[in-house]
């Protein structure tokens, strides 16, 4: 017993020991921390070498997206290469809308009144500006007006170029500018010049913008399909009304030929695009003087001269595009309003500046843009309303003729996996370096146009001004908040956040223990002590994934890093002495910091109080990241502060670098890194000097002197090992950087405290529209259209119905989700807006919560009067009833035939049985002698029976024939009825066609 007990005990012990081991062995291997590959080689590949380099496998992908379209097309046709594209730029033609003459008229006059006073067509009057103080009106004119005998008219300005009066500027006339939209053959340019690597845009918003989903119905009104004849006709009308004459195929004004100077950029596709536009102008009757110029001379003329000097009339503009942004008012603010100074005149005080001609509800495009851009609204609805109205006004004013969203084209070898095809940033998305890999390899080779240029600078004050520094650096540090690659919404990257807001007008109380850096006193203070007691919103960032994790050098990330760095950046913005040294930094960052009220570290959370409101809370969180500084350890921010402000050996900004002839500090350049390490090791960057930045108002110091010393040692070792002092906390460590060799190496950071493994979002699956089932639309009746749309996440369907000729939107709305698909319900009040016997365009726009960029489909729908639909339905119903009756008769007859046939067979069988029985009995009673007689009788009887059978069968056949004839008769009658019904339907359709034809002819005649 005792032995058994011992054995059992031993067994239990063995099991107890073995279990955890077995559990460990059977547990899944813990996911690898850090990125998918161990090493990234990142080096320069000039554009002409990209094709052979990627084909030969010298690089796995090329991260500079501006390769020529021809090369991209060739590479796309190569099986081992794929081309990733994303909208990355915008191309438009900006027109010079300046007047050629400005006069002052007595009195406060309207446009029409001013035209009347001057004796000209109102179309010549571009803008009137009341001058109440002078009791006069300033009038801008698109054509010179002879002022002789015009009493009281004062000429303020007359355009003169090369001692010659400029008589007329056609692009000054708004209506003419608008019509030019129709004279721009975007389809052909897309196909022939951009080789498909672009998206047509009719205005600054388009299907490449997430915000487009809210503006689609507006955009649908302004689809400027190439219609040269329309443009020619209307422009001719406008020119004639304005007093111009077409002489020898060229427009003249008061005997002077109208010349158009086109500035066409030569570096890219804009050269051919500009030539195509110039050609259209020539066809319209304008004398075009093209001037094909590179960046410098073109910029100098267009943005460097006053528009009323008329050194240019049109210019082929190109713009870069930022990240995908769900709610983006930037396009309107930039291209349709005067906020950033991008309207002709460029906000230069000494230049003539464009003034809006149109208003909606008394506000112009810039007013609406300001409301949307600066969030001067109270709700999302107001914001959208402002955006829509501003956009529509800008389209109508057409200072820019929009062309394309150009696509960046990134070639990637097919075996590269783990990518995130960001709908805005494409391959440049920072998610990519976290996920990219090639099966079976531990490294990856990345080509870029440059790794280093003279303006490629890695410093966290005013560095990172180009893609060559930004792209690799983003692989070395983690963001607090970043944009979702498919929706453009701000999402927590290495944090989670919670937002509380008091709304656009409300205020939240800032807690008493919230703190702020007081640059005047040079210390952290309680925010309440400097009057910071209220804020619009509060964002709580959970910083657990930063705090306690490691820097690449192995040091732990602490509050000293987060708060100390913030204090240094705030000091640079608000410390007046520092602001004098680095004016550029102070001006720009003060603007951002001014909206941050206070911060409050609580546990691992950082509360940020901001005076910022947005209807989307995630945007408030995004804004609050100004107070989160996580990319460098505190001592490195201090080092930048030292060499920038104390020893003044390096400039932190480009402007200062140039003004003072100082090198622009870059932490990856050996000379700068060496300088910093030297200052640390020789004791010039001292703990005591920087202690105040890490000492909170309660007197607590967040980093000890020993810790500082330890960090300095580690920094020195890091420099010895890598030649740089770039230490961060992201998935890769920068272990080699050579500006001369144009090469850098990133090695995976696989510390157990690093929170992430490889990250890859893959490719977005936009909503696909499989089918749209649209019946005839009854005008005055209700109907439903079924949309079969598929995609990931919640799907949203919007629709609009527009006149295909005028593009006027008649109805718009959203579809409802139903078991049969998405149902577009068109109630009576909507269908009554439609004309009967008319074809309309139904535009269906689909997007999802997971992929914001929309999918569009246009189908044609036919309207008919509701009564006709009822008639057709009535005929159909009658035919159905008739068919039903016929079916019933048929079934009845067949049943009866079967019954008759069954009855007769039964009777016959019975008679045969009786006769057989009788015969058998008779046979039994007769002798052999009578057998022959009986046999004869039998034969006779057999014959009789045979006759009986034949006669019975004949009777049955006769009945069957009769029944068949009856059925045929009934069938014939039914067919006749059916035929009549078909004829009725055909006649109705023919009627309908005739009516449509008549309506079409009438419409064409009207047109």
């Amino acid at each position: 017993m005792g032995r058994l007990l011992k054995t059992l005990t031993a067994l239990i012990l063995v099991l107890l020991l073995a279990l955890p081991m077995a559990a460990a062995l059977s547990a899944p291997v813990e996911a690898q921390k850090g990125p998918a590959v161990d090493r990234v080689e990142w080096f320069r590949v000039p554009i002409p070498d990209v094709e052979p380099a990627i084909k030969a496998g010298t690089i796995d992908l090329y991260i500079f997206g501006r390769i020529p379209g021809d090369m991209a097309a060739r590479l796309a046709a190569t099986p081992e290469i794929k081309i990733v594209t994303a909208p990355s730029g915008l191309t438009d033609i900006v027109l010079n809308p300046a007047p050629v003459q400005i006069v002052k008229l007595p009195g406060i006059l309207s446009k029409e009144a001013a035209a009347l006073a001057l004796g000209v067509n109102p179309i010549l009057v571009r803008y009137v500006k009341p001058l109440p103080a002078e009791k006069k009106t300033e009038v801008e004119l698109c054509g010179i007006v002879d002022l002789t005998n015009k009493t009281g008219v004062e000429e303020v300005f007359k355009a003169i170029k090369d001692d010659r009066v400029i008589g007329f500027n056609p692009f000054c006339i708004r209506e003419l500018r608008f019509e030019l939209n129709y004279a721009f053959d975007r389809e052909t340019i897309l196909k022939e010049i951009y080789r498909g690597f672009a998206t047509i845009k009719y205005t600054f918003y388009g299907p490449d913008d997430p915000t487009y989903t809210e503006l689609a119905d507006l955009m649908a009104k302004y689809v400027f399909t190439y219609d040269f004849e329309r443009a020619r006709r209307r422009i001719a009308d406008i020119m004639t009304s304005a007093g111009a004459d077409l002489i020898g195929g060229k427009w003249h004004y008061r005997g002077q030929r109208i010349d158009i100077i086109g500035i066409i950029r030569v570096e890219d596709e804009r050269l051919l695009l500009g030539r195509a536009f110039a050609l259209e102008l020539v066809k319209l009757g304008f004398n075009v003087i093209p001037s094909e110029l590179a960046f410098g001379p073109a910029i100098d003329i267009v943005y460097g001269t006053n528009p009323i000097d008329f050194k240019w009339h049109f210019y082929t503009e190109g713009w870069g595009k930022g990240v995908l942004d769900r709610w983006d008012p930037g396009n309107l603010a930039q291209f349709g309003a005067d906020i950033i100074g991008y309207l002709p005149g460029w906000a230069e005080p000494e230049y003539w500046n464009y003034k809006h001609e149109l208003t909606i509800d008394g506000k112009n495009a810039s007013d609406y843009a300001r409301e949307a851009y600066y969030m001067l609204v109270k709700s999302k609805e107001e914001w959208l309303d402002a955006l829509r109205k501003g956009t529509e006004l800008a389209i109508l004013e057409s200072v820019r003729i929009w062309g394309f969203a150009t696509h960046d084209k990134w070639p990637v070898r097919a075996e590269v996996k783990g990518l995130t095809i960001d709908l805005g940033a494409g391959l440049r998305s920072p998610y990519n370096c976290r996920g990219w890999y090639v099966e079976g390899r531990k490294d990856i080779k990345i080509g870029h146009l440059w790794v280093w240029t003279a303006t490629t600078v890695w410093n966290t004050y005013r560095g990172f001004r180009d893609v060559y520094s930004v792209d690799p650096a983003r692989c070395t540090y983690d963001f607090v908040v970043w944009r979702h690659p498919f929706t453009g919404m701000p999402i927590g990257f290495r944090v989670t956040f919670a937002v509380e807001t008091a709304g656009p007008d409300g205020k939240l109380k800032v807690p008493d223990d919230a703190i702020w850096w007081d640059a005047e006193r040079g210390t952290w203070v309680y925010a309440k002590d400097i009057g910071r007691t209220e804020a619009t919103s509060k964002v709580v960032f959970d910083m657990s994934r930063f705090l306690g994790a490691k820097w690449h050098s192995g040091q732990t990330i602490t509050w000293a890093d987060l708060l100390g760095s913030l204090a240094l950046y705030l000091d640079a913005a608000y410390n007046t002495e520092k602001a004098k040294i680095e004016r550029e930094y102070a001006t720009v960052y003060k603007e951002n910091f001014d909206t941050v009220v206070a911060v409050r570290p609580v546990g691992n959370n950082l509360e940020v109080y901001v005076n910022f409101w947005h209807f989307e809370p995630a945007y408030i969180a995004d804004w609050a990241t100004w107070a989160t500084t996580t990319s460098l350890p505190f001592e490195l921010v201090a080092a930048q502060d030292y060499v920038g402000y104390v020893s003044k050996e390096r400039a932190l900004s480009l402007t200062r670098a140039r003004a003072e002839r100082l090198p622009w500090l870059s932490l990856v350049i050996k000379a700068d890194a060496e300088l910093i390490v030297k200052h640390f090791t020789e004791g010039r960057i001292k703990y005591d000097d920087y202690k105040k930045f890490i000492t909170t108002p309660d007197g607590k110091t967040l980093m000890t002197a020993d810790e500082w010393a330890s960090r300095v040692r580690v920094l020195s070792d890091w420099f010895t090992k890598t030649g740089t002092v770039w230490i961060s906390n992201g998935p890769y460590m920068l272990t080699y950087y050579s500006s001369e060799e144009q090469k850098l190496i990133l090695e995976a950071f696989r510390d157990p405290t690093y929170p992430f493994g490889p990250i890859a979002y893959g490719e977005a699956t936009p909503v696909s529209i499989a089918a749209v089932k649209a019946p005839l639309i009854p005008v005055g009746g209700s109907t439903e259209i079924i949309v079969d749309a598929r995609g990931v996440g919640d799907i949203f369907i919007k629709y609009l119905i527009r006149d295909p000729a005028t593009k006027a939107v008649v109805a718009s709305g959203s579809a409802e989700k139903a078991p049969v698909g998405f149902v577009i319900k068109l109630p009576v009040d909507v269908t009554t807006l439609l004309l009967p016997y008319t074809v309309y365009e139904l535009l269906v726009i689909a997007y999802s919560s997971e992929v914001i960029l929309p999918t569009e489909i246009i189908i044609r729908i036919q309207t008919v009067p509701a009564e006709l639909i009822e008639q057709i339905a009535g005929v159909g119903k009658s035919v159905e009833e008739l068919e039903e009756r016929l079916r019933a008769i048929n079934e009845d007859l067949l049943k009866r035939i079967a019954e008759v046939r069954g009855g007769l067979s039964e009777e016959l069988a019975k008679s045969v049985t009786i006769l057989t029985e009788t015969f058998t009995k008779a046979l039994e009673g007769l002798g052999e002698a009578t057998a022959s007689s009986i046999k004869a009788l039998g034969a006779e009887m057999g014959k009789s029976l045979g006759d009986l059978k034949t006669s019975t069968e004949d009777r049955i056949s006769s009945v069957e024939r009769k029944l068949s004839t009856d059925i045929q008769t009934v069938g014939g009658t039914a067919e006749a009825a059916q035929s009549t019904a078909r004829w009725a339907l055909i006649v109705s359709i023919v009627n309908l066609i005739i009516l449509l034809a008549i309506a079409g002819m009438l419409f064409m005649r009207r047109s």
């Binding site: 002409p48 084909k55 001379p297 910029i299 950033i340 003279a454 303006t455």
Partner: protein, 370 residues
């Protein structure tokens, strides 16, 4: 051989003439850059772009600045930039003041692209920029010229002497082919062939810059093993460019040397020498080589001097930032000080070479007169 007074006077006069030419060239370059407004246009464009970017940054949502405040800051920023780029002064003050400074190369690169193309950053002296670019060009172009000269100088006269032979015909064909194809085209082919497809040479030559620096740093710090390693890398990265340029220019050199020699070979006095029964060696040495030495020397010296200007496109193809690229970027960026410095250096080298030739002429042939 001591020079007489007359020869010295001749040489001095030639030196003075060349100095005046140098000065005129510098003035003309400065005038072209300044008076035509070429650099102003480019600088203005740069300022416009920087101001626009600045204004955009100041106009972000949430900005606390009023439009007036913003415009004031933009104005100040623009003024700062105008001063930085020197556009607050008239062109003649800006560019003509550069001439005396250029003589001692006391000028600075004013554009980032110019510094960047060399792998350097500003502030950067024009002399430093040239000091970095020049060895790279010498390594590729001048060395190739030297190799060509070494081959062509003896071989040219030899094939002239063997006129009509297979070798002669081959050289003529080779010269015609290499003249027909531009160097940069052969360079492109070689990068694709040897770099990308055969893999026996680099596909990117940019690292040569780092290896040259490493080599010179190692030498300066007397680290000879490091210098040797760096030299090996330099050779690996430079053998294809040197061979390509040599291959491309050798044909022309051979043909020229042959052409110079062929005229002499068929001269009457050469035939007379042969008729006198002199040995072929004596005829070649005394009657041919001595006569053609002058023209060939001129050709070689001026060729070598001219080589330091670099090959713009070939340097671009090899991504080899030497004097050619430096020239191109300086002109396209409108970097007047750098353009002046480059013009000064290349002209100076050329004129010094000319002067040396002039001296040699005077020494070799005292009959040379002004």
């Amino acid at each position: 051989m001591p020079l007489d007074r007359r020869s010295l006077r001749v040489i001095a006069f030639r030196g003075l003439t060349l100095t005046i030419i140098l000065f005129i060239i510098l003035v003309l370059t400065a005038v072209i850059m300044g008076a035509t407004g070429y650099d102003t246009v480019i600088l203005n464009a740069v300022i416009h772009e920087q101001v626009r970017a600045f204004r955009e940054e100041l106009s972000k949502p949430g900005s606390p600045y009023t439009p007036e405040e913003r415009e004031k800051m933009v104005r100040e920023y623009r003024e700062q930039l105008l001063s930085v780029y020197g556009l607050d002064k008239p062109w003649y003050l800006r560019t003509m003041s550069l001439i005396p400074k250029v003589l001692v190369l006391d000028l600075h690169v004013t554009h980032d692209e110019v510094a960047g193309v060399l792998g350097l950053r500003r502030p950067l002296g024009a002399g430093d920029a040239i000091a970095v670019a020049l060895p790279r060009t010498i390594l590729m172009i001048t060395l190739a010229y030297v190799l060509s000269a070494i081959i062509a100088v003896p071989l040219g006269p030899y094939i002239a002497y063997k006129r009509g032979s297979v070798l002669d015909k081959s050289v003529i064909t080779y010269a015609a082919i290499t003249n027909a194809f531009p160097v940069w085209w052969i360079a492109m082919l070689s990068v694709f062939l040897f770099g990308f497809y055969l893999g026996i040479a680099p596909s990117s030559y940019r690292p040569i810059v780092a290896h040259i620096s490493r080599f010179s740093d190692s030498l300066l710090s007397l680290n000879f093993s490091g210098a040797l390693t760096a030299l090996r890398d330099v050779l690996y990265f430079s053998y294809i460019p040197i061979l390509v340029v040599t291959f491309a220019v050798l044909g022309g050199w051979l043909y020229s040397a042959r052409a110079v020699a062929i005229r002499v070979v068929s001269e009457d006095y050469v035939m007379a020498a042969r008729a006198k029964g002199l040995s072929e060696g004596t005829v070649v040495r005394k009657y041919i080589i001595r006569v053609i030495a002058g023209p060939i020397l001129t050709f070689v010296i001026l060729g070598l001097a001219g080589s330091i200007g670099g090959f713009i496109i070939t340097e671009t193809v090899f991504d080899w930032p030497g004097m050619g690229l430096l020239y191109y970027v300086s002109i396209s960026a409108g970097d007047s000080p750098m353009v002046l410095a480059l013009v000064y250096v290349t002209t100076l080298v050329y004129l010094v070479a000319r002067f040396i030739l002039e001296v040699l002429y005077v020494i070799l042939d005292p009959r040379v007169k002004l």
